[in-house]
């Protein structure tokens, strides 16, 4: 079943002369994990925000085409209604703190209070996300006293606690070190395995290749391609679009080794390892 349907989506910010999104069309199935890649200002954040209705409802501007979430057209819904189905985590963790709560625990409760979750359920959900994102030890601290990485985990936890069907993440690990980033990706993957649809805009291509089922490549607001990581990262024109393939793919391209029986290059460490080990020297 298609969870998200985008048809001819066009968008222009107010005061801007150029289209930020130019005629995008694609579908996402329930439970899919989709990566959005592209160079800076390719439209990744704008596309993420179009799935939650911030584009166009928050910014206004000029809008064309249709976005359906579970069959409901985003243009005709309020952000509050869409946000019950679609959760969104933004890039900058510092401005995602509501600024009205004195502890991490209360901060996570903010969204749950707004959408009317009963108290006992609220507490159960908060305890679950504190554990999932591994931030139990800071639950009584002031949100503004956290490190960037901890803030980012809190921001993700705050959205996951609202139990959306679809989770949109815009570079959710920019403030995290490699180990922390891996932990967060594991948590996201476990949600994906529970059947939650995930949309992830990300620069870390190794992660995209490892976790995403399909990858959407954007350039200048236009969709270049949407396909499996193997197909996308094996494209010869990646660099023209301002994207570098995962390091494993680049090595294998250099060595000219492809996955057996396909024209694709390996995109993850495991794939590269199996291809290279299987190779007779």
């Amino acid at each position: 079943m298609n969870k998200i349907v985008v048809e001819g989506l066009k968008y222009k910010y107010p005061l801007s002369d150029t289209l930020a999104l130019d005629d995008l069309s694609f579908q996402v199935k329930e439970g899919e994990f989709i990566g959005i890649i592209g160079k800076n200002s390719a439209g990744k954040s704008t596309l993420c925000q179009a799935l939650v209705g911030l584009v166009p409802h928050f910014y206004k501007g000029a809008y064309g085409g249709k976005v359906f979430i579970d069959g409901l057209e985003v243009k005709n819904q309020t952000i509050a209604d869409i946000s019950l189905k679609v959760g969104m985590v933004f890039q900058n963790p510092f401005t995602q703190v509501t600024g009205s709560k004195m502890t991490v625990y209360e901060e996570i409760a903010f969204g749950l209070e707004n959408i009317g979750i009963p108290r006992s359920e609220m507490i159960a959900r908060i305890d679950y996300v504190l554990d999932l994102l591994k931030i139990e030890q800071v639950k009584d601290q002031n949100p503004f006293d956290l490190s960037g990485g901890q803030m980012q985990r809190m921001a993700i936890a705050s959205i996951i606690a609202m139990k959306p069907d679809i989770l949109v993440l815009d570079e959710p690990t920019s403030q995290l070190d490699p180990a922390g980033s891996e932990e967060v990706f594991q948590a996201i993957q476990s949600l994906s395995k529970q059947g939650i649809t995930i949309i992830l805009a990300e620069h870390k291509m190794e992660k995209v290749a490892l976790y995403c089922h399909r990858v959407l490549l954007l350039d200048d607001g236009k969709m270049v391609d949407i396909n499996t990581p193997g197909k996308i990262f094996s494209r010869g024109d990646l660099e023209q679009h301002g994207v570098a393939a995962p390091v494993y793919t680049r090595v294998c391209k250099e060595l000219g080794v492809r996955k057996a029986g396909t024209s694709e290059f390996p995109v993850t460490l495991a794939e590269a390892e199996s291809v290279l080990r299987g190779r007779k020297i």
Binding site: Q49, V52, L54, F58, T78, I79, A80, S83, L84, G87, M88, F90, N92, T95, Q96, V97, T98, G99, S100, K101, M102, Y105, E106, A109, F110, G111, L112, E113, N114, I115, G116, I117, P118, R119, M122, I123, N142, F144, D145, A155, S158, I159, M162
Partner: protein
């Protein structure tokens, strides 16, 4: 993070009372002397508030507030004692200046009124967490959006002060003068304030986005993480305060 509210985090039976009872006490302290128009009642009212402040263990925190108030009140006593238009009866004379009874009595009225309001307010302010007060008011029907705005001020001010001190240090390091002639100090004002304001305004966009996706404009009735704080005696105290007020009103009209 440094807090700008005067709230003192302590355990006391005054702290235990809910914000509504404390708000009602302010109204009581404000109106009882106005209804009865008596110095004695004003004195008693100020006395009761001070006893309550002591019982809450926060009396030391009232000193800075009261000292500021007294500073102004002293000038009120002097100016009214000397110059009040209704002045007639000379009480005493210092050199060429005469202190009048009418002016001093008027200054006493003002002093008692100010002391009364300030001490009653301080009970609320020193023993109630601002966020608890706002949450109580939202439960009683205040818009949660306005509630959010009020509570977030307490977080945003320390944040902005931190960014101002960063900018002040940076500008001083670049050789900006912040001392000396008035014109020099005036010139420093904008370059110090401007960047803080711009930064804060730019952040409002992302904060608004983040609020939107967390159900800020949801029409569902709100729920609360914490259970409502009530005191076993609240209802009684509230009833007694109201009865006293109504009684005073009746006594004033028919007595």
């Amino acid at each position: 993070m440094k807090s700008i509210s005067l709230y003192v985090d302590k355990e006391s039976f005054i702290h235990d009372f809910d914000p509504i009872t404390k708000l009602l006490y302010i109204l009581f302290a404000l109106f009882l002397p106005l209804i009865l128009l008596s110095f004695t009642v004003s004195f008693i009212s100020v006395g009761v508030s001070i006893v309550l402040l002591m019982a809450a263990g926060v009396i030391r925190k009232t000193i800075p507030v009261f000292s500021f108030v007294f500073l102004v009140l002293i000038t009120v006593v002097i100016i009214q004692g000397l110059f009040r238009p209704e002045n007639e009866t000379i009480l005493f004379q210092i050199g060429p200046l005469a202190m009048y009874k009418e002016g001093l009595l008027y200054a006493l009225t003002i002093t008692l009124r100010v002391m009364n309001i300030v001490s009653a307010f301080l009970i609320l302010v020193l023993t109630t967490k601002p966020s608890d007060l706002v949450e109580t008011l939202v439960r009683k029907g205040m818009s949660p959006r306005i509630g959010y705005v009020i509570v977030s001020v307490f977080q945003i001010i320390p944040e902005m002060m931190a960014s101002m001190s960063t900018i002040t240090d940076a500008q001083r390091a670049r050789g900006m003068e912040t001392e000396g002639k008035l014109s020099v100090r005036m010139k420093a004002f904008l370059p110090l304030l401007g960047p803080v304001i711009l930064g804060a305004l730019i952040n409002t966009k992302e904060r608004a986005l983040a609020l939107e996706v967390r159900g800020f404009n949801s029409h569902v009735p709100k729920t609360y993480l914490y259970e409502e704080k009530t005191h076993a005696l609240s209802k009684w105290v509230q009833a007694i305060l109201l009865l006293l007020l109504v009684g005073a009103g009746v006594w004033r009209i028919f007595g």
